[in-house]
Point group: C2
Chain length 439, copies 2
Amino acid sequence: MRMSQFFLPVLKENPSEAQIVSHRLMLRAGMVRQASAGIYSWLPLGWRVLQKIEQIVREEQDAAGAQEILMPTMQPAELWRESGRYDDYGQEMLRIKDRHDRDMLFGPTNEELITDIFRHSVRSYRQLPQNLYHIQWKFRDEVRPRFGVMRGREFLMKDNYSFDIDYDGARRSYQKMFVAYLRTFERMGLKAIPMEADTGPIGGDMSHEFIILADTGESEVHCHADFLDFSVAGDVDYDSDLSSIIEHWTSRYAATDEKHDAERFEAKVPADRRISTRGIEVGHIFYFGTKYSAPLGATVTGPDGQDIAVEMGSYGIGVSRLVGAIIEASHDDDGIVWPDAVAPFNVGIVNLKAGDAACDEAAGHIYRTLSDHGLDVLVDDTEERAGSKFATMDLIGLPWQLVVGPRGLKSGQVELKNRRSGERVELSIDDALSRVSTA
Amino acid sequence: MRMSQFFLPVLKENPSEAQIVSHRLMLRAGMVRQASAGIYSWLPLGWRVLQKIEQIVREEQDAAGAQEILMPTMQPAELWRESGRYDDYGQEMLRIKDRHDRDMLFGPTNEELITDIFRHSVRSYRQLPQNLYHIQWKFRDEVRPRFGVMRGREFLMKDNYSFDIDYDGARRSYQKMFVAYLRTFERMGLKAIPMEADTGPIGGDMSHEFIILADTGESEVHCHADFLDFSVAGDVDYDSDLSSIIEHWTSRYAATDEKHDAERFEAKVPADRRISTRGIEVGHIFYFGTKYSAPLGATVTGPDGQDIAVEMGSYGIGVSRLVGAIIEASHDDDGIVWPDAVAPFNVGIVNLKAGDAACDEAAGHIYRTLSDHGLDVLVDDTEERAGSKFATMDLIGLPWQLVVGPRGLKSGQVELKNRRSGERVELSIDDALSRVSTA
């Protein structure tokens, strides 16, 4: 992509409405634009990141055996009356009347709708387990939307729902998602720590939040420093017993403020390993048994011919929120520092003298070579001055910058900068290409 | 994917609510389920088709130089008051009040919102042309939603918007989209005919609808039979002059009922080349100049320093409607006949005796080999009887069926069936594999 054609409305000034760094940087880097309070349009740079995050979520869901569907944004109120949540859910639910005066709502979550699909589609225990997910925009009418996409009103969420014949099955489904979540966040370059959590309006009695540590987090969290070195490296066989992975990741103290027990924390964690900071919730998993299947009549015929209400769980990842959360966890004074897996482009080429034959040729050669290697490349071919080009590249945070200028080219050299480390080296074009391609 | 695990709730009976074949087949094949009138959940089989269609649309938009963004579903009413459309737009617009009593709406289209983004982002004619698209769910509160996804209330649309400094630029943008649309529909195996059209509520003075011929279409259309042999084969250089392609595709008579002129039709088209039938609109492109840019103040500074309202066009493809339209154009008495490019799976393997060691091994071998070739494969490993398996495979319409049974395997043979032609041949496994892989 050529910067001269790319729709990238960067801001020179810090927008006054942004209170936290991710909101500020997303506006400055031209990633999003507010349509109205808590509702954003995703511009090309932001949309590329959102799609990369969505694709990682999708691949890890598929790997864990979940199947993708798409439920609509608009839901009929009747279903929520069946579950009893229509009146319970407060003003955060956006209630709508259609032209025939029927009560509708913009789905804030999908337990009712998926249970309705299930009860009309599955009849026998032999068709279980099932796990269905979708990645869809939700709406929660926050009284005071803030922090950009971190606490917006219209937000993209991956939610899925598991259906099992009994508690043991439901527990296995829960464990699969637990592991899938660890893998999902690790692929994005995040350290997400599973913490026991309250179940809130979803209900249920087994629940974990996945929390990223960040000073700007919405709530206090407390955990053992060992988590910072944990990893779910390697392939996972989802048909195998996953208990050992779960045990490993729940073997240390980790709790959100609601669940925090200071005495236990001090007893379990040595003083120099205690982390008390703030956290951002990026995922939440629940087991809630028959809370929805019983009132909505989602039953299957069991082996003995009797009808059994299915055991359910639900699992959410805040896809659009993750864009902000990743920036909160990965930025510096100059701008965003994207982890490779979610970067909007892998490489940014800075052509210091667009219009100069040698510079244009070298930049073009580098662009084509890296693109042919399957990398996403942005080339700054504008006539901005060098300082402004460097500032924009740092702001938008691509992992590698490759600077092409007339002076270096005289000796066949370009400058390669790693955005995260800040390291700069002069290299021949071929060496720079191979360094970036094999990174 | 194994059928025994796949969420595929096929119906044995014809659903009584479905009046047209695509609606009936989509329900029977477990592709969608109605959530409420005109609002559907997309189940795994339908979702796969929708994603394939979406990806073809995306690739052809990118190839033509459009850039992808995503605007939200919920829009503020203020913008529509600025353009004057808030009061004009009838009851099809879903109007909503949020918890602070602010007027919102579920976007039925996006001219206002994109113009708002543009006016805050682009200042100079040097940043033109721009063409931004998004693929987003829209809502139109049809008084009588019907025909399944063909005339739903919540529907997926690709819409984009071009911005140019003058009429000549706008015309070029229009031509690029005209050609991109021809290529998009041709890749899906459709014959879409561009017809001059009324501009309706979008406004403007240059407009084409892209229409598929089908008996069940919503409106009468009239065209020259030559169109049935037209093609936009080969690569298109979007930087070249596209006039000859446009001229070719507008050189014959083609008109929707609103624009139809019976006298001209008879004068221009020999009697044996006249087609008068019904059509399904799958795309619509408009040039409308400064209709939105002028009232919303979307101006750029021109070469002479003066502010100029930009020349705009908008371009829509009904992505979810296409799923129904393709079925209307491609089915038989037994079910759907998917064109290769949009088929949910390329190949269906029918294992006639699941549980038999030889059958399972052969089916597994075929499955892995084809998957390694990058094909999407569904294997029926259930214990249904053969007749039921064949009926389901025909119903869901995968291009190839590969039947593995104990009798054939004794002589190392499997049966390969082409869904469209109905042709069946007995082949060795290797021959069947190479036939399907190279198709």
